[in-house]
Assembly symmetry: C2
C-alpha cells in the first residue's frame, strides 16, 4: 500500500487532541508532507498548520486527504461523508484507519469510481502475502519492542530514522501500524493481516536491502501481552532484527487493557533473544527507550542512568533527550 503525499489532514469535529492523535502524529513526523488541515465547525483539535479548503488543497498539489481523527467506536460519522465525497470529487485520494471500509459507504464508493481517486483503508490489507520463510536476507534491521502496547515503539523507530538520516546513514522507518503507515506513506497494519501471514507480511514490509541499509521496524504489542503476543512474535520472526531497542513506560502498573503486570525489561530482553534467535542468531539488545513524560527531568535522567548501568546499553527518552547514543550503539553491527 503506497499512499501518495502531500497530505491534507482531515480532523473532523473531534472534541479533543487525543481523538486527533493520528493526524497530529503525521504532522509531527512529516511536516513537509502536510500542506494543511481541514476541520469542521467545532473541532477542538489543532495541528497548527494552515487551514485549507479542499479546493485550495487541490490547487497546492495535495494528493491525499488523510482522515487523521476518530470519533468514539472508530466508525465514520454520517456528517464526515460529505467532505470525503468532496475531496474525492476534487480528485484527491482519501485514506483512513477506520474499522470499516470507505468503499462500504455507497456515496463514497460512487464518488471514488467517478473521479478515479483511490480509497485507502489502512486497517484492511488487500495484499496477498506469502507465509514467512525465515531466510536471512541482506540489509540491517532494528526492531522496536516493548514491555507493553503504546510505550513509544513507533516514535523510537521514527526518532532513529531522523537521527540516522541526519548523519547521512541509509535508513528507512518501516511501518507496521496505521499511524506509521500514514507517516511513511506505505506499510501494513500488521494486526489486520490474517494470522497465517504475520511473519510473511513483515518479510514483505522489510525486504532484502543493501548490506549497509538499516530498516527501523515499528514493533507492535509485547511478547508478554495476553491479547497481542502472537502478533509480536510473528513480527519478531519476520523482522529478523540484528538489533532491538526495548521501549518502556515506567509509571504503568498493568498491561494495557488487561490485568496482567508488566514484564521487567530484563524479561523482555531475554525472551526477545530466545525467540528472535530463531531467524537471526546474532540478535542483540542495543538500547532502552523510556517514555519519561510523567517524570521530572532530574528523576528522568537519574532513572535512565540507572538503566544504562544495569543493562550495559544506552538508555534514553527519544523525545526528550534524543537518540544519539542509540544510534552510536549500532556502529559495530
Amino acid at each position: 500500500m503506497i499512499i501518495e503525499h502531500p497530505y491534507l489532514i482531515f480532523l473532523g469535529d473531534v472534541p479533543d487532541a487525543l481523538a486527533a492523535k493520528t493526524g497530529l502524529g503525521i504532522v509531527d513526523w512529516r511536516p513537509e508532507w502536510c500542506l494543511g488541515q481541514f476541520r469542521l465547525d467545532g473541532c477542538q483539535a489543532d495541528a497548527n498548520i494552515p487551514e485549507l479548503s479542499i479546493a485550495e488543497a487541490k490547487e497546492k498539489g495535495v494528493k491525499t486527504m488523510v482522515v487523521g481523527a476518530v470519533n468514539a467506536g472508530g466508525v465514520l460519522p454520517d456528517h464526515w461523508v460529505k467532505p470525503i465525497v468532496e475531496a474525492l470529487d476534487a480528485g484527491l485520494n482519501v485514506a483512513t484507519g477506520l474499522h470499516s471500509r470507505l468503499s462500504s459507504i455507497p456515496e463514497i464508493k460512487a464518488a471514488a469510481e467517478k473521479s478515479g481517486a483511490k480509497l485507502h483503508d489502512v486497517r484492511f490489507s488487500d495484499e496477498r502475502f506469502a507465509t514467512g520463510k525465515g531466510d536471512k536476507r541482506p540489509g540491517k534491521r532494528l526492531l522496536a519492542v516493548g514491555t507493553d502496547c503504546s510505550v513509544g515503539k513507533k516514535y523510537t523507530a521514527l526518532a532513529l530514522e531522523r537521527e540516522m538520516r541526519e548523519r547521512g546513514m541509509d535508513a528507512d522507518f518501516r511501518a507496521t501500524g496505521q499511524t506509521g503507515v500514514f507517516i511513511s506513506g506505505r506499510g501494513v497494519a500488521i494486526d489486520a493481516v490474517v494470522a497465517d501471514f504475520i511473519s510473511g507480511a513483515v518479510e514483505w514490509i522489510s525486504p532484502a536491502a543493501d548490506p549497509n541499509h538499516w530498516d527501523l521496524i515499528e514493533g507492535q504489542g509485547s511478547l508478554f501481552h495476553p491479547s497481542f503476543a502472537g502478533v509480536s512474535l510473528g513480527l519478531l520472526h519476520g523482522a529478523q532484527p540484528d538489533a532491538f531497542v526495548v521501549c518502556h513506560e515506567p509509571t504503568r502498573t498493568t498491561m494495557r487493557g488487561v490485568k496482567h503486570p508488566l514484564p521487567s525489561i530484563q524479561e523482555v530482553i531475554d525472551m526477545t533473544i530466545a525467540l528472535g534467535s530463531r531467524t537471526n542468531p546474532g540478535i542483540k539488545c542495543t538500547g532502552i527507550a523510556v517514555n519519561t513524560a510523567k517524570l521530572g527531568e532530574d528523576e528522568a535522567r537519574s532513572m535512565l542512568a540507572d538503566l544504562a548501568r544495569e543493562y550495559g546499553v544506552p538508555a534514553t527518552d527519544p523525545i526528550r533527550f534524543g537518540v544519539t547514543e542509540l544510534v552510536d550503539a549500532l556502529a559495530d553491527i
Copy 2:
C-alpha cells in the same frame, strides 16, 4: 460456526488418498456422522463407507455435504460446481475448507439463496471476536503442541477425547483447524483469524466450563516455526492450558516448508512453559506423543521408553499404542 451432521462426504475425482485426507480424517474420527460418500467418475480415494447419491443422502437424513477433498491449489474445480449445486438444490448445507468462498461462485450463491441451505467456508471466519483477556476461566484444558506442523496434534487431542469419554470423563475436543472443525462440527480455523484476535478467538473456542470439564485443544504450528509461531503463541495464550502434550515426528530433519532444523522436545517444553505461564502459571507438560509410522514396532517401543525415561512423562504413539498413560497423567490436575 456450527456445521450440522450427519454428513455426506464429497470426494470429487481426486487422484489419491492424500488429496482426500480431510474426508478420510472425518470418517476416521466420526464414522457415526458420515452416512456415505459421494464420488465422481475416476475418483481414486475411498473412505469405505456407502456410496450415496445426493437424493439418497437427503432421504437418509444427511444435513451437510462436506467437501473432503482438494485438488492442487486448493481451488474448486469447475466440474465440482454442479454436484455442489445439486446438493444445495436438495436442501443440504455445503461445507468446504477451500481458499475461496463458496459464495464467490454465482451458481452456488444463487442455489443456496434459493433453497435456504447454509454455505460453510471453514477457512474464513465471519465471527467477530474480542481481543484476548488472559483471565483464568474455570474448567481444565490440555493443549497439543508440536516440534513442527503436521506432527499429530489433532489426532492426539482426538485420541484423548475418545479415551476420556470411554472412561466417563467430561471432555471435548476443541478444533482450531479446518479438518478439526469438520470432525467436531464447530470451531474456528485459527490461522484464518485476523492477527489481533488470535488469543481472543481461542478464548471463544474454549469458554469457561465446569471445574472438572476437560477441553482438549488442537494446537497449530510450533513456537519455533518461522512462518507460524505467532499463531502458536496466540493459541497458547488463549488456551491457557493446565497441561500440554508435545507431539513429534522423529524422522523429520527440517521444519515443514522452511530450512530450519526442528527444535528438541526439551526446547519445546521449556518455551511452552516460559510463554504459557503468562496466562496459566500452573502449566505443565504431561506427556509426549510421537508419530512412529515410519519406524518398526521394536524401534518405536524402544524410542518411546527412552523418551519417557528422559522426560519423566508418558510417551506414546496415540494411533499405534493408545493414550491410556497420557490420560492417567491428568488424574492429579
